[in-house]
């Protein structure tokens, strides 16, 4: 879609104007880090933030997500629970936009996920370009996520006095009609192009080869000794998948009220790295070995989804590597496999 622009001085009025109608979520500082939180005013937003601890997926797939309640009185009845809160995710970097864009495809495919899709259809995404590599282990450039290709309504790029605004959807167009936005003229287009060129050259490649080769490299790695070597650095804690923008696996649990027998079925984030993730009735565990679990995660990130959806399930944000206590970093593993 088209390119528009908004002057910087008009951005705060635009965002504050959304707050009465939408729950506006944006990055805010948390001590020396950042997190996506509901904000009460544009003033709370950290525009120059580095990668948040958790990606914004938590507003589309909450850590605890109630699916339905069951009431046994007067014959059992199920009441599905859907979160229809109108929400704006503001300030999402291109890596995280890519993460959401992939979840959109995965969770709409086949037996689709109505709870995710309901939240998603009530959520607008206003992205914001980062200006440089946020961490020394971010490899977004290698994973092709330096600029968004879908999954956003508006996407802002800082041009100094104003922002260039890519409009991704009709809902984005409607947002831009609220005032402050104008069509990009030749000058904006020039500056926008220059900003993109500058961004591209400002990000280093951190994988030593073209990632187009990754699915094949991973296919050949199936019996590599690297997986067993990694075992010695893994705790089965699932920190890596918890902080991943594209991980969406969940466990389904029931909670009941002993007085009335009313119950709630909810889901909570699960992780393929936990020991009992693949345990089934009868006590079998078809991924009981830690090395099998590690390999499974890496192959999902760099092979399976690429083959199925045409895009990697890794956006190169580097969160997993930074949250791993013994520094298992997807980027390093990808590099070592080629080595």
């Amino acid at each position: 879609m088209g390119l528009m622009a908004i002057d910087k001085r008009d951005l705060s009025a635009f965002i504050d104007g959304l707050i009465p109608q939408w729950e506006v979520v944006a990055p805010v500082p948390v001590e020396f880090k950042y997190a996506f939180r509901k904000v009460g005013s544009f003033q709370d937003v950290a525009l120059d933030y580095t990668n948040t601890m958790l990606p914004p997926k938590k507003f589309l797939l909450p850590q605890r997500d109630e699916l339905f309640s069951c009431n046994p009185e007067g014959g059992p009845s199920l009441t599905p629970r859907f979160d229809e809160t109108p929400r704006v995710l503001f300030g999402v970097h291109s890596c995280d936009v890519h993460g959401i864009w992939l979840l959109d495809d995965i969770l709409a495919e086949g037996c689709s996920d109505p709870h995710y899709l309901c939240r998603r259809s009530n959520t607008l995404i206003i992205g914001l370009d980062c200006k440089g590599p946020c961490h020394d282990n971010a490899f977004c450039k290698d994973m092709g996520t330096l600029k968004p290709a879908g999954g956003f309504d508006l996407f802002l790029t800082d041009l100094g006095e104003r922002y260039a605004v890519q409009v991704g959807t009709g809902a984005g167009t409607a947002l831009a009609e609220r005032g402050g936005f104008y069509m990009a003229d030749f000058e904006v287009r020039e500056e926008f192009f220059a900003a993109w060129q500058k961004k591209q050259s400002g990000f280093p490649n951190r994988i030593g080869y073209d990632t187009a080769a990754l699915p094949n490299i991973l296919a050949e790695s199936y019996d590599d000794i690297i997986w067993e070597a990694l075992e010695m650095r893994c705790f089965d804690c699932g920190a890596c998948t918890t902080v991943c923008p594209t991980c969406y696996c969940f466990d389904v649990l029931d909670e009941n009220d002993i007085g009335t027998d009313r119950s709630i079925r909810y889901r909570r984030w699960d992780s393929c790295q936990l020991q009992d993730f693949a345990a089934v009735a009868g006590g079998a565990n078809f991924r009981g070995k830690r090395s099998d679990r590690l390999r499974h995660r890496l192959l999902r990130k760099g092979k399976y989804f690429k083959e199925k959806f045409g895009r990697f399930a890794c956006v190169g944000c580097g969160r997993c590597g930074r949250s791993c206590l013994l520094h298992i970093d997807v980027r390093d593993v990808f590099n070592q496999l080629k080595g």
């Binding site: 020396f32 958790l54 650095r233 705790f235 804690c237 002993i258 027998d261 206590l325 013994l326």
Partner: protein
């Protein structure tokens, strides 16, 4: 249907017993289905007729063994409640001193009037059907176990490390604050209560079934802890785990 339950305290501070009464908004709901018939912190009755027994405390004296076995015979379901009952708790620290040394330190010339024996968790003597972990137990988990038992389902008790809940809560890792933490090997379920308050996990909930001990040791060593400091961390709440297994 109501069930009859007893809460029995052995060597402990009885704090876990009291937690069962602290469930506030759920207490009346529980009392509608659970009739406590033997619970010295709450009632005067001392009935021997009960279906569920909650055991609070470690076993440290001869007479406790007999009492515990009698309770086991009477109860259809026995729940070990809290770090002392499940792991021996802080009392297990006594086992790292010479026999009689702590007794003499605490009771001086009256030490001879007290009997003591090696500290052991409840499971050393009787079959434990369910465990409630922590020092003290988590009151939501108490409600979960009671609810699950009354509903005939398995309680949802995690077998993954505290790190999982900690990351989910979007906490800054306490290792990044320069603190040491038992979270990577400790059973979750507390909601990462200590790291959420900028304190390293002490490991009170005991370890996950298969803890990554070598990896944890590597992290602690990398963060500058000495062997002595690491051992002290492990002994605090997980001493018995060490004596029952090969690793400390």
């Amino acid at each position: 249907m109501t069930v009859r339950a007893g809460v029995f305290a052995f060597t402990s501070c009885e704090g876990c017993s009291l937690i069962t009464l602290e469930v506030e908004d759920r207490l009346l709901e529980i009392l509608g289905r659970v009739e406590f018939v033997n619970f010295r912190e709450a009632i005067d009755d001392k009935s021997d007729d009960y279906d569920i027994a909650f055991i609070d405390g470690a076993i440290t004296r001869e007479h406790e063994v007999g009492e515990l076995m009698k309770i086991r015979e009477r109860a259809a379901i026995l729940v070990a409640m809290g770090a002392c009952a499940v792991q021996g708790g802080l009392y297990f620290l006594k086992e790292y001193h010479e026999p009689g040394e702590t007794l003499a330190y605490v009771y001086g010339d009256k030490a001879g009037q007290f009997d003591t024996m090696p500290v052991r968790p409840v499971s050393q003597y009787v079959k434990v059907d369910h465990s409630l972990y922590g020092c003290p137990i988590d009151k939501r988990e108490f409600v979960e176990v009671v609810t699950a038992l009354l509903s005939g389902r398995r309680p949802n008790i995690p077998d993954y490390p505290v790190c999982n809940e900690c990351r989910m809560s979007e906490n800054i890792c306490v290792f990044e604050r320069g603190l040491a933490c038992m979270g990577p090997v400790t059973r979750a379920g507390c909601g990462a209560i200590c790291p959420s308050r900028h304190v390293g996990c002490f490991g009170c909930r005991g370890m996950v079934d298969k803890p990554a001990l070598d990896q944890h040791r590597a992290v602690l060593t990398e963060r500058g802890l000495t062997e002595e400091e690491i051992t002290a961390r492990y002994r605090m709440f997980n001493g018995h785990w060490g004596s029952a297994h090969e690793k400390p």
